[in-house]
Symmetry: C2
Subunit: 331 residues, 2 copies
């Protein structure tokens, strides 16, 4: 990819991110009761990559629309995403998020439940501001994304207490938990930009596949990231006993003592934080970190292949850059 395209795109990303951030803040500030909207503002202003809004905007643009056709919907998907973060963090006992205390640790579980609910409410509120003729399709996509993310989180929790989970089951879970929402961002964007059915399908497929790659990368970062950059506690998935790609794959490969060590984790539903290092070494020994990298590349290529339908080569390049930076991300 040419350097000029990258430079141009990074400029566009920053600029459009600012537009979405403006709407996000407007959606929650100066709103009452403060006991509700001030914690909601806390999670939204804590940052994040704004990846999901960018997928909406880029998809709108790639099918011939404008970024500005999709600002409110971009804000809506980010609000929906933050709703899932707030509720998931309660269920996952997460202490840190984006380098700060999680909402439920700072404000208590009750407030966190209610703030999550409100973020979702405000998400629909914003989505409704933008849709025109294609309102029903867009709202159906959005609602389908919401249904699936709940189902995915439910499977994730269910798997924590299951003694074995196949790779196929794992992929199904992350498809719902993570990929469905990225797929939805792309389809909504493509609809807002008045894309053809073929374009909507292609971009949806991009979102779905990049979402799977994204989640496996997330599983990987739980082990190989540095805490300061990741913004979350390293090894949190191991502590919670989550059936990540690494654990599922490790269970598939391990024999003898290694297998016993892994089964101990599974039986206890997690490990103590001081054991994280030991399990990381085991993952390295079993080669599952490399396996994850291969899998991420596989789904990323699949995502990019589906974009051949896009007419403009610069749009394809931009999605390529985005996919690439997701793979190389450290947080």
């Amino acid at each position: 990819m040419s350097t000029s395209v990258i430079t141009k795109f990074m400029f566009v990303y920053k600029n459009e991110q600012r537009q979405v951030n403006h709407i996000l803040k407007k959606a929650l500030s100066k709103r009452k009761p403060e006991t509700l909207y001030s914690p909601a503002y806390y999670i939204i202003e804590s940052g994040g990559k704004r990846l999901r809004p960018m997928l909406v905007l880029l998809s709108a643009k790639a099918v011939g629309g404008k970024y500005s056709d999709a600002y409110y919907s971009g804000a809506a998907v980010e609000l929906l995403h933050n709703f899932t973060l707030v509720h998931d963090d309660i269920m996952d006992n997460a202490e840190k998020r984006r380098g700060r205390l999680t909402l439920h640790v700072k404000y208590g579980d009750d407030t966190a439940i209610l703030v999550g609910d409100s973020l979702l409410a405000v998400a629909y509120e914003n989505l409704l501001k933008e849709c025109k003729g294609n309102l029903k399709d867009i709202l159906s996509d959005f609602t389908k994304g919401l249904v699936e993310v709940c189902e995915g989180q439910s499977l994730d929790k269910e798997y924590e207490s299951r003694s074995s989970v196949s790779l196929k089951e794992y992929i199904k879970m992350i498809q719902k938990k993570t990929a469905a929402m990225l797929e939805m961002c792309c389809s909504i964007g493509a609809r807002l930009g008045k894309g053809s059915p073929g374009e909507i399908k292609a971009l949806s497929s991009f979102g779905r596949n990049i979402g799977i790659a994204f989640q496996i990368q997330d599983d990987l970062l739980d082990i190989i990231a540095s805490e300061a950059e990741f913004g979350k506690i390293i090894g949190g998935d191991l502590v919670e006993g989550k059936k990540t790609f690494l654990l599922v794959k490790a269970l598939e490969k391990a024999k003898g003592n290694d297998r016993s060590t892994l089964l101990r984790l599974v039986r206890s539903g997690g490990i103590k934080p001081d054991q994280v290092k030991k399990y990381k070494e085991l993952y390295q020994k079993l080669g599952v970190i490399e396996d994850a990298k291969v899998e991420i590349k596989k789904y990323t290529s699949r995502a990019l292949r589906s974009l051949s339908v896009l007419k403009n080569s610069e749009d394809r390049e931009i999605f390529g850059w985005l996919a690439d930076s997701l793979i190389k991300r450290i947080r």
Copy 2:
């Protein structure tokens, strides 16, 4: 009101309730993952008056539509209502609901959070099945109802820890927490039935005012109901230190020792279950139970007055019957 109208209406109520129940069950049964949808089914099949769906159906009918125009939306508002029950019960530490264990007591907080989220998702899913030309208005009304119910619950929780709450603040809180949703049921119904702006406004006003009466009645039932019939634990609001109509009014009226007794409750943020009887006697002494009854009548009359715009006298009678049975309800 004539007995024949009442008999006819009770028959209609039962029948239409069955239609909505059928859709509700279809929306949640045979759906996977079971760890999510089976607890969701638990709360939905636990019954309830299905008051909110009936308001949708009756409003559609009263402006010239058919009950069957509104079945999915009726199911949607009931799902939304149950979403609020599940999350509120966690926050309010409620043990019983409709005579059974609350969802979070039976399945744990994590599942209850997620089931609540899913009920909301499925609510939107159902709402989208029915809307036609007026989709945007209906979804906006529904979303506004959702936003307000979150704000109302937040105020309710905030008030628990406040030393004083005025009657005006109390009314504002229940307007958001309870009345906004009943208002929304009526407006959605009126829109589905293709009512005129005047009819939509009148029915919305009916819903809002009956909603306020309904909540004051609910506050009253916490004290005067019998547990077996109420399905909830008597005095739960006192135990949680909730700023109900009774407590707010009692604080307004009490002097001397009585005032000290009430302030003790306020300062401790609630009382022990064995003190409920004592506070009930104090409420009786202060006359706030009678005050509540007067207030309920006031808002009910206001609700009924707004219906003068309805052309058909039988429709007005039906709403009258409904309002009357809400006032006289024991659960």
